[in-house]
Amino acid sequence: MYRKPPTFVRNDLLTAGTYNQMRENAAVLRNALRFEHVNSSGEHNTPLIARTLGTVLCAAGPTYSLQGFNADASLASGHNPSAGKLILTLAGSRGYEKDKGIIQVQNASNNGDVQPCLSWARWASDDKVEIYSNRWAGTLGSTVDGAWDSADNASFFVGVHGRRLPVGTPNDFGPPLQRGDGLRAGSGTTYANQLIQGCADLQVSMDVGHTAGAHDTREIAKYWAHVQWDGADFTVLDEEASPTFDAGGVTFSSPSAGICIGSFTTSLASNNYQVFIDVDYGRLSGSPDDYFIACVPEDEISSADFTVYLYKKFVSSGIEYYDRSNEVDFHVWVFDDH
């Protein structure tokens, strides 16, 4: 159990009991850190946090490149085996296992500003994930039947989660002192030095992915908001920003139906960040049964803002079609590297 010893003053005697309490405190902190971090490296280590996360950029051709991912992800050989399909290779011995990890994908197709786009993913093997994209090939607002079978070469925001890794050898804080042991000579000095070094190593681990305790790694969101259409504009129902989020905050506005711009309070250093959307339902203007698709075109990601396109499904005489609409709430996450 963690108990902070009282502050020492000159000539106070450091007893074995107090020394051992400090040692126990170090062990308590070490074990807490080891629960969801790799001890040796400080890396986050839980299936609830992505092990690698970034943007798959699609340019004309198509040619693909990665942005923001750590060394765990790379483009597989033949990474674009067919239209609308992309394969990422994942590093071995990093906890990735087929069907035992979360894959998050947000469609970031540059067609997402004019047509609703879908994306989905699957594990092909322990070291390969496949990502697909598809767009609705119809005219917005037209009741002429459209089709979904248009494979779309697209950009994506992707996060891949692995299973827990072995946490590694625990920090060594040396043995406890026995009654009568001192720190001034012999083994007592060695023990004390082990405790000092062990605490320093623990702090080094803690500093990986954290700044003064606040998370500062790309794999953990820097900002989340529940955004509501209030009938006139988008407003924030609830939000959370990391102390390390350089943008400070985000405001949301709609220049026209079905378009929501998220503007950062302070521009980020670059457009190397990722946005994920979960469409909720219309709490105010829309109906809970409305169906929406959200797209975040990569080419509208800038250091100052990002744009979310919201498409609503309509049915007319048995024909399904889509059009832009604001009448929905959504959740938004922003991932950045510090």
């Binding site: 979904w148 000579a185 606040a214």
Partner: protein, 192 residues
């Protein structure tokens, strides 16, 4: 107070009270940092450390809220509280048979509450929300999975309601299970 590594002690040199205070403060500083976005030590229990201290700890799959609150668990609305990989095995005429391939944290079980609609109960949070990505087919595009929060006053209580959709002719029918071998990856977030 920021962590400042203390100089090592030398044989026969006195371990001055300032040195000891520095070490105490270092530990307290680290505790403060850990408690910022991880479950703290005043409200959480200790862990079965022997497993972790063996250095090979890589599970079990289900921790999180299946334990009493544990010191060191991430504690932030920005980090998922639960995760699930859900396989929805169904055929055109066959029964729905959803399964959990992975359950982690607050997502431990679900109920089928309607055709194509699953409810994941979550306890211990004042409100929850989530995000899902569909998975499965190499040829048939699944429509986005919709995740709606359910609040304590709702019919099923606190949790996530996930609606899946399947292709029907050229369109998609609402609230229908996905075709065979499709499913979704689900993350749950929450505030305590």
């Amino acid at each position: 107070m920021a962590f400042v590594k203390k100089p090592k002690l030398c044989q026969n040199a006195p371990a001055g009270y300032q040195q000891i205070n520095g070490l105490v403060d270092n530990l307290d500083s680290l505790k403060t940092e850990l408690e910022l976005e991880h479950t703290g030590f005043d409200t959480a229990s200790d862990l079965p450390f022997s497993t972790i201290d063996a250095g090979t700890f890589a599970g079990p799959e289900s921790f999180g809220d299946s334990f009493a609150p544990v010191a060191g668990v991430h504690e932030s609305p920005l980090i998922a509280r639960g995760a699930a990989v859900v396989s929805v095995i169904t055929t055109v005429t066959g029964p729905e048979a959803p399964q959990l391939y992975l359950r982690e944290g607050c997502l431990q079980s679900f109920q089928v509450i309607d055709t194509g609609v699953l409810f994941f109960p979550v306890s211990g949070y004042a409100r929850v929300w989530g995000r899902a990505t569909p998975y499965g087919s190499t040829v048939t595009p699944p429509l986005d999975v919709r995740v709606n929060p359910s609040t304590p006053g709702d019919q099923f209580g606190t949790g996530l309601i996930v609606r899946t959709f399947k292709k029907q002719d050229n369109d998609y029918a609402e609230e229908e299970m996905l075709p065979m071998e499709l499913g979704f990856y689900l993350l749950c977030y929450g505030r305590r």
